[in-house]
């Protein structure tokens, strides 16, 4: 049976190693913060200028000038630091962020990522997506395996506007965990009861099972 959203988010949380710097993209990836095991000491980076982001504030703690990149009110943990956007993106571009967990629209087996715009839809802008995809040491994408119309989102070649080339190390979908490997994906894990057929049917590139 395919993983639930919570299962996917939990699986993404398992990608996080202690002692690292992690940036969680807007949307589903933001929820990964709720599933980081208590013993794992990680510093969350928010590209609007915060390292050591804590959970949402208590009602009487809300600070309008302490927000995350999704413009939600957050807190700062002990050991946190604030800084300007030039330094924040120096961190990202300079390879100082160990892991970025991002949403995706299409991932190619070459590691190319498309996640910022869909032609014909209202444009929103790339925000920090291109910097995170190109700059983070490791990029994990959290997305559904296929689009609403059934079209594969793991593909041989991205058809949507690119966010960054050859940047994705791992994709987590409701069907399993897939690593781009050049001309194919390697399925390194799958949801219980999901068969090869179902995965291959929903994937627009060759899949090697391990």
């Amino acid at each position: 049976m395919a993983w639930s959203r919570d299962d996917m988010v939990k699986r993404a949380a398992a990608e996080i190693r202690g002692g690292t710097i992690v940036n969680l993209g807007i949307g589903l990836p933001t929820e990964v913060a709720n599933f980081i095991p208590p013993g794992v000491d990680v510093l969350l980076h928010s590209e609007n200028g915060l390292l050591g982001m804590g959970p949402f504030p208590y009602d009487d703690e809300v600070d309008p000038q302490l927000i995350n990149a999704g413009k939600q009110t957050v807190t700062a943990k002990p050991g946190a630091s604030t800084f300007d956007s030039a330094l924040s993106f120096a961190m990202i571009r300079g390879g100082h962020v160990d892991l970025a967990i991002l949403g995706g629209l299409e991932v190619a087996c070459t590691g190319d990522l498309a996640n910022w715009t869909v032609p014909g839809k209202l444009i929103t802008g790339m925000g920090g997506a291109m910097d995170l995809a190109a700059g983070a040491k490791r990029v994990v994408v959290l997305q559904s395996h296929v689009a609403k119309d059934g079209k594969p989102k793991l593909v041989a070649r991205v058809t949507l506007p690119v966010t960054a080339l050859a940047c994705v190390h791992r994709v987590i979908t409701e069907l399993g965990v897939f690593d781009p490997a050049g001309d194919h994906f390697v399925c390194i894990e799958r949801a219980a009861g999901v068969g090869d057929d179902e995965i291959m049917r929903g994937t627009g590139a060759p899949v090697v099972f391990r």
């Binding site: 000038q65 030039a86 929103t124």
Partner: protein
């Protein structure tokens, strides 16, 4: 040396505001905006503005007021989601939008303020952002050339300032404000609290005063919250 002005209207006078100018505005979404400066620009009605800001307001507020007033002809930014005014005028072709990756946006502004003629970044290579721009391979990686951004005026908000223009920002309100202050011919800062020189220890200054030309104390701010997210204090999981 005193850069203190009695009001934002006085600080944003005829010597500073004019039609067709380029204005940088600090803030991330509606957080950390120079609210009083934005309102003063709206009241003055200068038009054909190029706004350089990460967002151009949101939810009809902040810089979106200038859009509603039809004062804006171009926006240079990184994100325009959640901004119906901009979406509408962009689709109608009345406002031009130049999108930058957020890190490239910040770095271009820093370059403008730091006298750098341009730089190579890996961000945007292989994307629409790099179209028509110079690419260069260095040490096995491909980079795209980006140029500096400057403006006639920057408006920023800070928590504390002194009459020399030294500023301290509160939490994530710092964002683009320091680099914008560096990259504009004139920077006007509105501060929650104006203090005596020396009240901010030299090591605690976030933005040295030479980047700020005019400073105004503005005690009241709306501090609009876009997404007020909280957790329960008791009972639930923390």
């Amino acid at each position: 040396m005193s850069k203190v002005y009695p009001s934002v209207e006085a600080a944003l006078d005829d010597a500073v505001l004019r039609d067709g100018m380029r204005i940088m505005s600090g803030g991330f979404g509606l957080s950390g905006n120079a609210e009083a400066c934005i309102e003063a620009i709206a009241r003055r009605g200068v038009k054909d503005l190029t706004i350089i800001s990460n967002n151009c307001g949101n939810q009809g507020q902040g810089l979106a007021v200038l859009l509603k007033n039809r004062q804006v002809k171009k926006v240079i930014c990184s994100f325009i989601g959640g901004n119906p005014d901009l979406a509408e005028q962009y689709l109608a072709g009345t406002v031009d939008v130049e999108l930058n990756p957020q890190g490239t946006f910040a770095e271009r502004i820093r370059a403008g303020g730091a006298g750098i003629g341009g730089f190579f970044t890996p961000t945007g290579v292989g994307t629409v952002v790099a179209e028509g721009k110079e690419l260069r391979q260095m040490n096995g990686r491909t980079y795209v050339f980006e140029t500096p951004l400057r403006a006639d005026l920057a408006i920023v908000r800070a928590a504390v300032g002194d009459r020399y223009g030294n500023l301290r920002f509160h939490r994530t309100s710092r964002n683009f404000s320091p680099v914008m202050a560096m990259a504009a011919d004139v920077t006007v800062a509105e501060v929650d609290e104006l203090v005596e020189p020396g009240a901010i220890d030299p090591d605690d200054v976030h933005l040295p005063g030479l980047f700020v030309k005019r400073i105004v104390e503005v005690r009241e701010h709306k501090n609009v919250i876009e997404f007020r997210t909280t957790r329960p204090r008791s009972g639930g999981v923390s």
